[in-house]
């Protein structure tokens, strides 16, 4: 096994092999009578419809490859029937891939014996199903505790743990009910609780928030977000909800007819869609929520240190024909904004500090463009972009904010401005 690992490590290149939790390599899934025959003939490169027409086989996954890193939220999106559920099932071998390899922690689970597979499913992974898959003859608490029961935990312990998780998903008081007496949304939450109860390292979620109303969906997303942030879980997440995906996902894989069309960050998908399908798919995304300051920021015009004399400062501003400058201290920490007009009125001062306007409205590169709107409205100068330590990095100009929105509208009209 160790020999294998090093080979994989070399292939991966820049990523450290131990950081890759799930690796899917050239996986195909063909449903039907004779999948191998389809695979061995040239027809496999034609479209899903054509394959169905000529062979009667359904091409559900076509040459799928990707890697998911530790602690990453990997979102899988695509229209109905594009193969999302099939893909996520294959990762647990609930569906056997027709060909290809699936590595979890560097081990090819397609070679696993039943025992090893059961161990993996009990101790490493947990899944939420699109159609819940609850046990109708077990109470809510026994549903939630099932994974722990398989692990052999005592009844008392697993019920205590299950109660905790049930509370988290907002179903306290429903422990003794059967799933049949719960609404669809509540059943979905039982499914989520069942997956969380085992505290798995890898979570496979197939539309976990599908049947939930917006309010609870938001709540569940927050919960998932917290869990992910706190315990650095690796999450594979199928969803139809683009906003949720952009909120939670590090990367999104967009599928169509069994193929992955594009993998990228939400921003990449929106700003650089690979084709018309991707563009149409993401066009619903509220751009301002997805775009971050980092994609529209630019170099600040003039940056001054706090020890600059007003005279020097005026010269520098004049040289660049600027009407304002950012002021930083000697470590590069952002202090405030200097207006050319104020400066000329106080040119006899000791340093630029006297004429400086203190500004608290800064943003970070990760701030969404949406959060910049009020800042832009409050000031007629650019918004400074700082890092966590308050050091000035770049700036966002008001015009850049509007441009990012306008460019998109024009693209939609077909103006073709890039």
């Amino acid at each position: 096994m160790s020999g294998n690992d090093s080979i994989n490590g070399n292939k991966v290149g820049q990523m450290r092999p131990e950081d890759i939790v799930v690796e899917v390599n050239n996986v195909w899934k063909i449903f039907g009578k004779d999948p191998q025959q389809v695979l061995n003939s040239d027809i496999k490169s034609s479209s899903k419809e054509e394959i169905l027409e000529k062979t009667g086989c359904v091409l559900a996954m076509k040459d799928i490859s990707f890697k998911v890193n530790r602690g990453e939220v990997f979102v899988i999106m695509g229209l109905s029937g594009s193969g999302k559920s099939t893909l996520i099932r294959c990762i647990l071998r609930l569906i056997e891939p027709t060909t290809g390899s699936i590595l979890i922690h560097g081990k090819d689970i397609c070679q696993f014996k039943r025992r090893q597979l059961d161990y993996l499913r009990t101790h490493t992974t947990a899944m939420v199903f699109q159609h819940f898959g609850l046990f109708p003859h077990r109470t809510v608490i026994d549903n939630v505790a099932y994974g722990l029961q398989i692990r052999g935990m005592s009844r008392k312990k697993r019920h205590a743990r299950a109660e905790e998780v049930i509370k988290k998903v907002g179903l306290k008081g429903w422990e003794k009910y059967y799933p049949g007496s719960l609404s669809g949304g509540m059943q979905q939450r039982v499914g989520i609780a069942r997956a969380l109860a085992t505290d798995p390292e890898i979570l496979l979620l197939d539309e976990p928030f599908g049947g939930l109303d917006p309010l609870i969906r938001r709540q569940m997303q927050d919960e998932l977000f917290d869990i992910q942030a706190e315990f650095k879980k690796t999450i594979l997440f199928v969803t139809h909800d683009l906003h949720g995906a952009t909120r939670l996902g590090n990367r999104i894989a967009l599928m169509r007819n069994g193929e992955i069309i594009q993998i990228g960050t939400p921003q990449e998908l929106i700003t650089e869609p690979k084709d018309e399908y991707v563009r149409r798919f993401v066009q619903d995304a509220i751009l301002a929520k997805v775009l971050t300051a980092s994609s529209i920021m630019s170099q600040p015009g003039v940056t001054l240190y706090e020890w600059h004399k007003p005279d020097q400062a005026l010269q520098m501003l004049a040289a660049k024909e600027a009407d304002h400058a950012f002021v930083v201290d000697r470590s590069g920490k952002f202090l405030g904004l200097l207006n050319a007009q104020n400066l000329s009125e106080q040119r006899r001062g000791q340093s630029v500090i006297g004429a400086m306007e203190k500004i608290t409205n800064t943003c970070t590169p990760e701030s969404s463009v949406e959060s910049l709107f009020p800042l832009a409205a409050a000031s007629k100068h650019p918004i400074p972009v700082v890092d966590e330590d308050g050091k000035l990095l770049e700036q966002v100009e008001t015009s850049a904010i509007f441009n990012s929105m306008i460019r998109r509208t024009e693209e939609e009209k077909g103006a073709g401005v890039s």
């Binding site: 099932r89 009990t122 947990a126 199903f129 898959g133 109708p136 398989i150 049949g180």
Partner: protein
Amino acid sequence: MLEFPSFINIPLAEWVDAGMRWLLTNFSAFFDTVGEGILGVLLNIENFLLWLPWPAVLLIIGLLGWWTMRRWWAGLLMAGMMLIIGSFGYWDLSMMTLAIIIASVILSLVLGIPLGIAMAQNKFIESVIRPVLDAMQTMPSFVYLIPALMFFGLGKVPAVFATIIYAMPPVIRLTNVGIRQVPESVIEAAKAFGANSRRILFDVQLPLSMPSIMVGINQTTMMALAMVVIASMIGAKGLGLEVLLAINRIEVGRGFEAGLSIVLMAIIIDRITSSMAAQQQNKLKSMVGS
């Protein structure tokens, strides 16, 4: 007239006889053990039923009726029917019949439920057993007496053996059906949490197919009861033999009493077991929510 040519002659009877002889000579030890096993089960049950004082039996039947049908008067009715059987002077004979039924049903379930499970889980086993079950259903019940006689001679053991063979198909079939109708999504969920096939069977498949299995048990019990009269032809004592004797001697009154006793017994057993099945069904329905 054109006679059927004698040269077209399949000596099936000889082949079957030869096969039977071969079985008997080579497996007589096996049949002896099986026979002893059956006899052991039967005698224990019979002795216990005959040892029970009659009021205790009435009480048990009454309580069972009350508990399964959830009405006190239903229990009273069941006990009343048993009392009528006793009043005909058939108490001991009815207990013997009951013992044969109970022994046959227990053995049918012990064999039939695992067979049904195996059938549901393995296509090959199903493809072998299904035609056999179909054939058994169309075969007249008398036919089962012949191999029973050959293997075990006259007496109680062949009666129970023939009853088992005759009564087992429904429970096999309904166990199979019950397990197959368990939704794939639920099994998949159990798998996803690492349940192996044994756990899936006991945690998911059996509990969810319980209503179907209970219907199978009810039908098997009724089939066993129907076989009682026929089984008495090969020497099983009990109500069946009474009917047979009455028919032979053309004693209409006696035959009527014995026949009525069998009918009453059938009603008692059917009501109790089918109510149990219905209970299971309702229980599951209330969980699943319709």
